[in-house]
C-alpha cells in the first residue's frame, strides 16, 4: 500500500466521520465510521459476521468450483468440435447476456426455497463466462503447438492435459476472474432476496432492524472479500503467467 493511497483513504474516512458527526442526518440514515467499526468488531466478536462470511464463502466455493470444472470441460468441447460451437456455443453466448439473478424465479420453482436454488443461480453466473473464455483460448491455440505435441507422442487426454489446457490457460484466467465476480454478485443478490444466513442476509437484517451500522459494516466485509480474492488470487495468477510467458505487463 503506497503513501498516496494511504493518505487518500485516511482522508476519506476522516471526511466520513466528520460528516456524520456534523449531524445533518440522523445516525440511522448515515452512521459514522466509528460506529460502523464498532458494529463490525462486535459482529466479528459475537460471531454473527464470521458465520455470515463462512456460509457465503462455502456457497461460493461450492458453486464456483463446480462452475470451473463444468465450464472448462464445456469450453474445451466447444473449442474443439465445430458442430458444438455452432449450436451450444451460440446458446451459451445468448444466455450469458442474461444477468444470472434472473434465473432466481425459475430456480425457486425448480428447487424450492433451498440451498440448491441459490447455488444454481451462482453457478449460472460463473459457468458461461468460464466456458466462453475457455473456448476462445482453445480456438486461438496456435496449431503448431498441437503438431509439436502430437509428434512428441501426446494424444488423447494427454494432449488436452499437457498442451491444449496450458496453452489456453491465459485466456481461461480472464474467464475465471469474470466468472468469479459474476458468481459473487449473483450470490449476494440471491442471499439478499431470500436465503437464510450468509452476508446478503445480514445486510437485509440490518435494514429490517434499521441498523445502518450493520448494513455498512457488512458492505465493507463484502468489499474486503472481493479485494482479497481479486488482488490476492487472480492478480497473482495473472502476474505469474505474464512472467512465465513473457507477456507485457
Amino acid at each position: 500500500m503506497n503513501l498516496r493511497r494511504l493518505v487518500f483513504f485516511g482522508a476519506l474516512l476522516g471526511l466520513w466521520e466528520a460528516a456524520a458527526r456534523a449531524g445533518f442526518w440522523p445516525p440511522y440514515i448515515f452512521p459514522s465510521f466509528s460506529s460502523v467499526s464498532r458494529t463490525l468488531l462486535a459482529g466479528l466478536w459475537d460471531g454473527s459476521i464470521v458465520l455470515g462470511v463462512v456460509v457465503s464463502l462455502r456457497r461460493i466455493l461450492l458453486a464456483y468450483s463446480f462452475s470451473a470444472v463444468v465450464g472448462t470441460i464445456l469450453g474445451l468441447a466447444l473449442g474443439r468440435i465445430k458442430a458444438l460451437e455452432d449450436t451450444v456455443g451460440s446458446l451459451a453466448l445468448g444466455l450469458q447476456t442474461l444477468p444470472s439473478i434472473c434465473w432466481l424465479p425459475l430456480a425457486l420453482l425448480w428447487f424450492g426455497l433451498s440451498e440448491q436454488a441459490i447455488l444454481f443461480v451462482t453457478v449460472m453466473g460463473a459457468v458461461l463466462s468460464i466456458t466462453i473464455a475457455t473456448e476462445a483460448g482453445v480456438r486461438s491455440l496456435p496449431p503448431i503447438y498441437l503438431r509439436a505435441g502430437r509428434t512428441m507422442g501426446a494424444r488423447g487426454l494427454a494432449l488436452y492435459r499437457d498442451v491444449i489446457l496450458p496453452a489456453a490457460f491465459p485466456y481461461m484466467v480472464s474467464g475465471l476472474k469474470q466468472g468469479w465476480s459474476f458468481a459473487w454478485r449473483s450470490l449476494m443478490a440471491g442471499e439478499l432476496l431470500y436465503v437464510n444466513l450468509g452476508l446478503g442476509q445480514l445486510l437485509m437484517m440490518g435494514r429490517e432492524l434499521n441498523d445502518m451500522g450493520q448494513v455498512v459494516a457488512v458492505m465493507l466485509v463484502i468489499i474486503g472479500i472481493g479485494v482479497v480474492v481479486d488482488r490476492g488470487i487472480f492478480a497473482r495468477i495473472e502476474q505469474r503467467i505474464r512472467s512465465k510467458w513473457g507477456l507485457l505487463a
Partner: protein, 289 residues
C-alpha cells in the same frame, strides 16, 4: 558420403497431396518418389509454394497423402510418432514450460520416470550448450537459443529421423553459421537420418549429403545432386560453389515459374500497367542477370 549399403530408412512412393482450395482442389505435391537411407542427411530445396512443408508434414504423419505411400523401415506411416521428430521454423517450444521441462516433454509422454528424464534432458541441453539455461523460460531465449532447445527437445525423444522445416530461416547469419556447425557436429555424433527443408541453396549444399530439388506447384522431384565434400563444411567454403551452381541452375526455372504465377495472381485485374514492368523485371532475372 553415405555408403550405398546402408539400409533404406524412408521411402516415398508416388506421393501426391491435394488440398481443397477456393477454386477447386490445389495439387501441392504430385507423384513424389524419394528414398532416404539410414543416417543420410537429405536437403530438400524448392521455391516457396512448392509443397516442401507439406512433404515434411506427410513424412511426419501430421497429414495423410492423397495418393501413394510413405514407408519407414518398410512399415507405412499412419500418424505422428516420436520416432520421427519435427523441428519447425518457429521453435514451437511451449511457453508455459521452462527449458528443461520442454526438453522433457516427449519423455514424459513416453512415461519415462522423472529422474531419468531430467538426466536425459540435461545431457541434450549440454549437447546444444544450453545447460545453464535449463530453468529459463522460453521468452527469455534468443531465436537461436530457441532453435537449439527445440533441437535438444527433438533429440531427447531419441527419434530415428529428424525432420527439419527451415529451422534456421528466421535467424541472423552469424547465429545460423554457428548452428550449421553445431548441427553437423551433433549429426556426426548421433547419426540420425535427417530430412532438412530450406529455400537457401548454400545452406542445403553445406549441410546435405544430397540435395533434392523440387519443382514449383505441383511439387515434383526435379533433380538429385550428390554433395561429396568433406565435413565439417562451412557455408562460405569455396568447394561448395560448384554444387551450389548446379542446384541453382536446376532451381532457377522453378523460381521464375513461382514469381510469374504470383505476379499474375497479384496483378491481374488490379494494375495492368504495373504488371508489364514487373514481368520485364522477372524476365531479366530469369535470363541469368
Amino acid at each position: 558420403m553415405v555408403e550405398r549399403r546402408r539400409p533404406v530408412k524412408l521411402v516415398l512412393r508416388n506421393v501426391s497431396k491435394a488440398f481443397a482450395g477456393r477454386n477447386g482442389s490445389v495439387t501441392a505435391l504430385e507423384d513424389v518418389s524419394l528414398e532416404v537411407r539410414q543416417g543420410e542427411f537429405v536437403c530438400l530445396v524448392g521455391p516457396s509454394g512448392c509443397g516442401k512443408s507439406t512433404l515434411l508434414n506427410l513424412i511426419a504423419g501430421l497429414e495423410r497423402p492423397s495418393r501413394g505411400e510413405i514407408l519407414m523401415d518398410g512399415r507405412p506411416v499412419t500418424g505422428p510418432a516420436p520416432e520421427r521428430m519435427v523441428l519447425f521454423q518457429e521453435s514451437a517450444l511451449f511457453p508455459w514450460l521452462n527449458v528443461v521441462h520442454n526438453v522433457e516433454f516427449g519423455l514424459k509422454q513416453k512415461g519415462v520416470p522423472a529422474r531419468v528424464r531430467r538426466e536425459i534432458a540435461l545431457y541434450y541441453l549440454e549437447m546444444v550448450h544450453l545447460r545453464k539455461f535449463a530453468g529459463a523460460y522460453v521468452h527469455e531465449l534468443s531465436g537461436g537459443m530457441k532453435q537449439r532447445v527445440a533441437l535438444a527437445r527433438a533429440l531427447a525423444a531419441d527419434p530415428d529421423v529428424l525432420l527439419m522445416d527451415e529451422p534456421f530461416a528466421a535467424l541472423d547469419a552469424q547465429t545460423r553459421d554457428i548452428l550449421h556447425a553445431e548441427l553437423q557436429e551433433i549429426w556426426a555424433a548421433t547419426r540420425k537420418t535427417v530430412v532438412f527443408i530450406t529455400h537457401n541453396v548454400r545452406e542445403a549444399v553445406c549441410l546435405g549429403d544430397r540435395v533434392v530439388v523440387l519443382t514449383y506447384r505441383p511439387g515434383r522431384v526435379k533433380a538429385h545432386c550428390e554433395v561429396a565434400l568433406p565435413r565439417p563444411r562451412q557455408i562460405e567454403d569455396e568447394g561448395l560453389l560448384a554444387v551450389v551452381a548446379e542446384v541453382t541452375a536446376s532451381l532457377r526455372g522453378e523460381v521464375m515459374k513461382a514469381l510469374n504465377e504470383e505476379l499474375n495472381e497479384r496483378v491481374e485485374g488490379h494494375e495492368p500497367a504495373k504488371a508489364g514492368v514487373l514481368r520485364r523485371a522477372v524476365g531479366a532475372l530469369g535470363s541469368g542477370r
